[in-house]
Amino acid sequence: MLKILKYSFYDLMRSRWSYVYFLFYLALGFVLLFLNHDLSKAVITLMNVIIILVPLISTIFGVMYFYNSKEFTELLLAQPLKRSSIFLGQYFGVAGSLTLSLVLGLGVPFMLYGLFRSDVIWDFSLLLVTGAFLTMIFTVLAFNIALANENKIKGFGYSVLMWLFLAVIYDGLFLLSLIIFEEYPLDSFSLAATTFNPIDLSRTLILLKLDISALLGYTGAVFKSYFGTDLGLFLSLGMLVLWTVLPIWLLTYKSKRKDF
């Protein structure tokens, strides 16, 4: 598995797209910091970028890579190799290189602008951690979709739809249900609903750092214990781990049973 991982990783590191992705974040970081020297404001803007763009790019990249390397995968399948190691190796190769581009691309400009001397370092590292998680989650979801669909167009369609659903539509439905059922006690429901969407989860994580004062404005005791203590942080992080591990397991499970 490590060999395949290494191969995929180096293959991607050499490819143009990784550089484009890396340069995009580098440019974004520099432009943001150039336009306003305030690190904390830049962190807020970055958060918006990360929770929307990172999933989108990871999804598309994952699907693209899976379809592109299909011939290579089939070649590997003919060898005496475990299926799980083939797919997991490729997956970790893609996810690893994307995460690296993200972390380096954003890390370098912020470091140059004196991140270590500022007090937003924890907010920023949390941002990078959630970014890394989102990359892992959406790449594996994309892999799953691509594995299930032979048809490239369908695969692309489904994965973009998945992104759209999780990034926008889910919140719309969520809001609608909150307003329709506003007569009922909803605090547990609303917290539970955020955990079923990795984008919402990462948003909550970042909100905990940036908007804690607003979150504490609501009277519910459940909210208070969730946001007021470290419970929210640990629960959200735990759920993010689950969101990563479960689809990976699904990927190995499906790949073992798939008839190529």
Binding site: L175, L178, S190, S213, A214, G217
Partner: protein
């Protein structure tokens, strides 16, 4: 004759210590003539209900401790021209029927209370119908746990023209409490970690407070039912909680709120039924709600304030607006300035649709900063339906005001 006036002006000094001729403060007070000084040397005095009924100076040397033994009040001043300086008072009695205070001033004029340290108290310094005094550089450290059995740090009741300056008050119910007290000046105090309010005004007019710091109190500062209050250069920080605000204004008219800093409060200013208030040069930084307006607020003007990275800048609960927003800096402003006069060419709408939704269904706060919310906020910005359409800053600044 000359000698007599001399002693009258200067008074004589009576030393109080454990091996002096005078061993108790009460004894000293009894012996003293008007305008004498009681020099209290270092040591512990277990005394309470010390009644000062003549103009005296109580001067502590190296902070002598007066231990009230939780039996009741420690010092009660009923005479004009009394000075209390440099004492350490502990263990005031707690009662549910009487407001025991470490130092209580009753119907007296021209008092001065300074350099006093209070610990384990019920009420700290209680001024009752006493005018023209000063409360200067005291330190009040309470250990209040519940609102119902704790008292206030500095309380003024029907007292006028008092200066409260450079005090540190923490861990009591209300840090500084004013009721029916006019023309009070409150400067350079630090009121932190109090159970209820850092500073609390009730029915008190023409008061000024400047350069105070209010941090981590149950609910910051409450100004209620008062007129012509001037609030300048204060800092309100980290007042967090479901009913917490930097400042609560309720039925306040003709006040001035200038150059204050509101940082990391759940609600920066909560306004209810307050009219003709000028907000100028304030900084609202990282608050949940910078300003929350709850009905019946007319003719207020917000000018040259900085609204920086608040989750919500302004929140309204009605469609009616009679308040003026002009020349503020909004960190959320995305307009442009083509003629380079430092004023944005497009108006800024500080009320987001989302804040209406949150007012209606508070649980929706978990959707803060989601893309869906940004989209509907944007559409509301383009064509306001729910927010008052005249509620905008027509001349938003492009750069922060200093």
């Amino acid at each position: 004759m000359l000698l007599l006036t001399g002693t009258f002006l200067w008074g004589k000094t009576i030393s109080v210590c454990s091996d002096c001729a005078v061993r108790f403060i009460k004894e000293g007070v009894e012996m003293a003539a008007d305008f004498d000084t009681l020099l209290i040397k270092k040591g512990t005095y277990k005394e309470y209900n010390i009644l000062i009924d003549k103009p005296l100076t109580l001067l502590g040397e190296n902070y002598p401790v007066i231990d009230g033994g939780e039996k009741g009040e420690i010092i009660r001043i009923v005479s004009d021209h009394v000075t209390v300086d440099g004492l350490f008072l502990i263990n005031v009695g707690t009662s549910y029927t009487t407001d025991y205070a470490a130092i209580r001033v009753v119907k007296s004029e021209n008092f001065l209370i300074r350099n006093v340290v209070l610990e384990k108290l019920f009420f700290g310094i209680y001024l009752e119908k006493s005018n023209n005094g000063r409360v200067y550089h005291n330190k009040i450290i309470g250990d209040a746990k519940d609102e119902y059995n704790s008292g206030n740090g500095i309380q003024l009741w029907y007292s006028h023209n008092v200066v409260v300056d450079r005090n540190i008050v923490q861990g009591v119910r209300d840090g500084i409490y004013l009721e029916f007290s006019d023309h009070i000046t409150i400067n350079n105090n630090q009121s932190t970690n109090n159970l209820r309010y850092g500073l609390h005004f009730m029915f008190s007019n023409d008061d000024t407070y400047t350069n105070n710091t209010f941090q981590n109190n149950g609910a910051g500062v409450a100004v209620m039912f008062s007129k012509r209050i001037v609030m300048k250069g204060n800092t309100f920080r980290q007042n967090w909680g479901s009913a917490a605000f930097g400042m609560l204004l309720k039925e306040i008219n003709d006040a001035e709120i200038i150059d204050n800093t509101f940082e990391e409060n759940t609600i920066g200013i909560n306004i209810e039924g307050s009219n003709r208030i000028t907000y100028k040069g304030n900084d609202f930084i990282n608050n949940g709600w910078a300003v929350k307006v709850l009905g019946a607020c007319y003719s207020n003007s917000f000018e040259k304030n900085n609204f920086l990275y608040n989750s919500f800048d302004i929140s309204y609960n009605s469609k009616l607006n009679d308040n003026k927003f002009e020349n503020n800096y909004w960190s959320g402003y995305t307009g442009y300035d083509l003629d380079k006069d430092g004023i944005g060419d497009v108006p800024y709408r500080p009320v987001k649709l989302f804040s209406y939704i949150v007012n209606r269904t508070p649980e929706t706060i978990v959707l803060l900063r989601s893309l869906f919310m940004d989209i509907i906020d944007f559409s509301e910005k383009v064509s306001p339906v729910f927010t008052p359409d005249n509620l905008m800053d027509a001349m938003p600044l492009m750069k922060k005001t200093e």
